[in-house]
């Protein structure tokens, strides 16, 4: 999810930027509306912004494999604040990481927004809502959202890399190779994100159920 500078051809980087900026604009508009209608949502937005930034930057080791990778955090933000607001938080986190932490890049910011912020938020939120409608409990639904958001982020990143770097091979074969290489490290992290997302949502429901009471976050 942190595609570095220079790996995407300029035309592809621009192609990822266009939808990413549309999602970001919608996300910022959603945040502005949220602050106006519900000023007491500010602490949760601040908390989730810092959380997404630090979690998606933190290299988590996978014992046994000897590799490290990043969780996403955007599925949890999407469950608590709605997917558009989570896109805005994820985009800001990715910009700070590209500017000051040598993770990602400016030319690849659009692509990284689409994988981690858009993909992680919308798929995580969609799976959460879908699981709730199918009768899953709050913790299970939130956990499945966290798991799905994490996996889809790396599926999209794999596609972006495959499209840019497939060379003589087919895009499909390169995508499969990239996704298959990410998964041994990412599946344990996605399972950890499942438990973490589930735990936080259940904790918030028990302590401050009103925080889950928005129109997009009704459990």
């Amino acid at each position: 999810m942190h595609i570095p500078e220079g790996l995407l051809p300029l035309d592809q980087a621009a192609a990822w930027y266009a939808p990413a900026m549309a999602f970001l604009a919608a996300g910022l508009a959603k945040l502005k509306r949220l602050f106006k209608e519900k000023p007491d949502a500010r602490p949760l937005v601040g908390l989730m912004g810092a959380f997404v930034f630090v979690v998606s930057l933190m290299p988590v080791p996978v014992p046994g494999l000897g590799t490290v990778s990043h969780p996403c955090g955007t599925p949890l933000a999407a469950i608590l604040l709605g997917p558009f607001a989570a896109v805005a938080l994820g985009a800001v986190a990715l910009l700070l990481q590209a500017l000051f932490f040598a993770h990602g890049g400016i030319s690849s910011w659009g692509a990284n927004i689409l994988s981690m912020a858009v993909g992680g938020s919308f798929v995580g939120f969609g799976v959460y809502r879908g699981a709730r409608r199918l009768g899953a409990g709050l913790g299970l639904a939130a956990g499945l959202g966290g798991l799905a958001g994490d996996i889809i982020t790396y599926a999209i990143t794999s596609f972006q890399l495959a499209w840019a770097l497939h060379g003589q091979e087919s895009i499909g074969a390169t995508w499969l190779a990239a996704f298959g290489s990410f998964m041994p490290t990412q599946i344990p992290l996605a399972i950890a994100e499942l438990f973490f997302t589930s735990g936080v949502v259940v904790f918030i429901y028990r302590r401050r159920a009103d925080l889950l009471a928005g129109p997009e976050t009704q459990p």
Binding site: M1, H2, I3, P4, E5, G6, L7, P39, D40, R42, P43, L44, G46, L47, G49, A50, F51, F53, V54, L57, M58, P59, P61, P63, G64, L65, G66, T67, V68, S69, H70, L96, L99, F100, F101, A102, H103, G105, I106, S107, L161, A162, A164, L165, H166, G167, T174, A177, A178, S181, F182, T185, Q186, R207, R208, L211
Partner: protein, 99 residues
């Protein structure tokens, strides 16, 4: 009991990490770097600054500290008793005083 279980899981995790002999490379580097190398493409830099040596450690520590303090500040206002009193008094952090 729950705290003990969390502490036990954390200890097992730390022990397993310490027992694994590895260079602990990130998948962003290994997978992305491997594909780029195969395609004959290399990373570039648009920004004039570069994090070398312990500067990277400093920047990551500072970023983690700022994020941690921010999370703690807002966590307190959302979940602590002091935050509850402030909420019931109609005050929330970063809200402009309209008087």
């Amino acid at each position: 009991m729950r705290r003990l279980a969390v502490a036990a899981i954390a200890l097992v995790f730390i022990a397993a990490v310490l027992a694994t002999s590895s260079k602990w490379l990130g998948t962003d580097d290994t997978v992305t770097g491997g594909l780029a190398q195969k395609a004959g493409v290399s990373q570039t830099r648009l920004l004039p600054w570069n994090l070398t040596g312990d500067l990277q450690l400093f920047v990551f520590c500072a970023g983690g500290a700022v994020a941690g303090f921010t999370i703690g500040y807002f966590w307190r206002s959302l979940f602590s008793q002091a935050g509850k009193k402030q909420r019931s008094a109609g005050h929330c952090p970063r809200q402009k005083n309209e008087s």
